[in-house]
């Protein structure tokens, strides 16, 4: 008299698997929140001298004024992006390694959630969720910064419009959003997929296993063929000449423009994107396969 159980939709399993990642890894939101908090506190202290600096800068010219006003907002965004990457890298390295080390993988495997669902849930954290969470925290941080600086400036007799014109909230938020999602999320997806693969494979020291093979390939290529195509490939993909990075950071002045996203057309037309996503898919399928085969450590 076996009861026919209700079918549980795949989307629900995926949603709860992602939730479970958030339960386990609170650094996904605590990391960005902590950095946002530190930035706001630092900014509050810097506010004491802001009216003075604005007066000096406006005497010098429009460009200098913009720099003084905009700089803290840019630094806030960059700091949050940095923590986003740090959390994403450490999360990915531990995601499929930690559950084998503490043997909890045996519990997860006793439940009707497939290896594919689990790996997809884990991959969505660095590729989708962390960029989004970081974006929300960035917007919140910048809104707080805008509000307090408006109040402080108004109190010292400077128009609050000075900040709002140089830091247009909507545009800034859009730039941050596009940069985080397209560049930190989708463009970097092969990196996170690689880390997840290593995390599913390594029996110890996943960090070393993640770093050594690329280094070994680079050295091997240099010695055997005297070329450095592999290293250049990684460099151009992850550090420069991505569609998001149309100008080199060295020649460009520090401004919000450096985060400016490429047009969607430019982004989707780039072969680097598609090759990267293909590599991501291959790595993730490898991770699914490994999770199936590998037992606890």
């Amino acid at each position: 008299m076996s009861t026919t159980a209700v079918e549980i939709p795949a989307a629900r399993r995926l949603y709860w698997s992602v939730r479970r990642e958030l339960w386990e890894n609170r650094s996904i939101y605590l990391g960005p929140l902590a950095v946002g908090g530190v930035v706001v506190i630092g900014f509050l202290i810097a506010l004491i001298s802001l009216p003075g600096r604005i007066r000096t800068a406006s005497a010098l010219g429009e460009r200098e004024l913009r720099e003084v006003v905009e700089q803290p907002f840019l630094i806030a965004a960059l700091m949050l992006m940095a923590i986003e990457m740090i959390v994403a890298v450490f999360y990915s390295l531990d995601a499929l390694y930690g559950e084998r080390r503490d043997r909890s993988v045996l519990f997860w495997k006793s439940l009707p959630v497939s290896d594919l669902t689990t790996v997809l849930a884990k991959a969505s954290i660095p590729i989708l969720l962390l960029p989004l969470v970081t974006w929300v925290v960035t917007v919140a941080t910048q809104v707080v910064m805008l509000l307090v600086s408006s109040v402080v400036l108004a109190a010292s007799g400077i128009s609050a419009a000075t900040v709002w014109t140089h830091v247009p909230l909507l545009e800034t938020s859009w730039i941050n959003f596009a940069h985080l999602v397209t560049f930190h999320g989708i463009w970097y997806a092969p990196l996170y997929a690689w880390l997840l693969l290593v995390s599913a494979w390594a029996t110890r020291a996943p960090f070393l296993w993640a770093v050594l093979p690329p280094v070994a390939i680079g050295i091997f290529e240099r010695i055997a063929f005297g070329s450095r195509h592999f290293v250049t490939l990684l460099q151009t993909h992850f550090l420069g000449e991505s569609p998001s990075d149309h100008a080199s950071p060295v020649t460009m002045e520090m401004s919000m423009d450096m985060l400016y996203p490429p047009t969607l057309g430019h982004f989707f037309a780039s072969s680097g994107l598609w090759v990267g996503l293909l590599v991501t898919a291959v790595f993730l399928l490898g991770a699914v396969r490994l999770r199936r085969v590998r037992g606890p450590l």
Partner: protein
């Protein structure tokens, strides 16, 4: 349909043979005790059944190939391959929330009823619980899953006697309520004795004994023999003999129980004593 059907099930790790051609059939409505010394292959066999390890030979569980169709099978098979594998960061309520959300056969109120009998706080994290409490939590969740097949590997390890008894009583009660089969591997033979319908002894990757409890009752006799009648009793070919206080205890296989009445008190051997008898004979034969 057989719930578990294994033919020539083999598993090797390098040069080590963990399972050396096992034939096993478990039908609906059985509670099978898989009993054997350490390293006999109990865990390997159970892992193959729940699709955690690939194998050679033929194996069908609920009519499916457990390695290839694991994702589908895991909805109808519920298992504990190891206690103390609950993630240490998880809260009791989170564990219940998660399983409720993703398991079509999980009855949350039942799990909560089990937990109410323990001292586990719902807000507690697994890392704050004692070893025994973690096992209690795990068992509470497993017992609340209406699975056709329940696979338990040393489920009561680290539990105190009272709770062990409670657990096996609940297992039995549950078993009478619905048609399911249970396969349980354990060292604590005495405690499972009264819940089993079948006994399987496994040694060095082979099944050396596989009988229903009814069979055991009709085919095995433990006789308390007075020293005077010992030689007469020995002439009947006991499979084992051990010394008791003021008498010898001999176990016989086959024949009618009445035939032994003249030698002394006759009863059914405990599964533990029978295990020792069968094992020492099997190991003697192997050497």
């Amino acid at each position: 349909m057989a719930y578990i059907e294994a033919r020539g099930l083999r598993k090797t790790y390098g040069a080590t043979v963990a399972l050396d051609g096992i034939d096993l059939r478990v039908n609906e409505g059985r509670i099978v005790g898989l009993i054997g010394p350490n390293g006999a292959g109990k865990t390997t066999a159970l892992n193959a059944i729940v699709g955690l390890t690939p194998y050679e030979g033929e194996l069908r569980v609920l009519g499916r190939d457990p390695w290839r169709e694991r994702d589908r099978l895991v909805r109808d098979v519920c298992f504990i391959t190891d206690v103390a594998v609950l993630p240490h960061w998880m809260r009791v309520t989170q564990a219940l929330d998660f399983v409720t959300a993703i398991h079509p056969r999980f009855d949350r109120s039942k799990a909560e009823a089990f937990l109410a009998k323990t001292t586990i706080r719902p807000a507690a994290r697994v890392r704050e619980l004692s070893k025994g409490m973690v096992t209690q939590l795990h068992l509470a969740m497993v017992m609340a899953i209406d699975a056709q097949l329940l696979v338990l590997d040393e489920p009561t390890l680290g539990l105190d006697l009272l709770y062990r008894k409670q657990f096996y009583d609940a297992l039995l009660e549950d078993y009478f309520e619905r048609s399911r089969s249970v396969i349980v591997a354990t060292h604590q033979i005495e405690e499972v004795q009264h819940v089993l319908t079948d006994v399987v002894y496994i040694d060095r990757g082979r099944i050396v004994f596989n009988r229903s409890v009814e069979d055991v009752e009709s085919a095995y006799h433990e006789v308390f023999v007075h020293p005077d009648r010992l030689s007469a009793a020995r002439a009947l070919n006991p499979i084992s003999e051990r010394q008791g206080v003021g008498h010898s205890v001999l176990i016989f296989e086959g024949a009618e129980r009445a035939q032994f009445a003249a030698l002394g008190d006759v009863r059914t051997p405990s599964i533990a004593d029978l295990f020792v008898a069968v094992m020492s004979r099997a190991q003697g034969a192997a050497q």
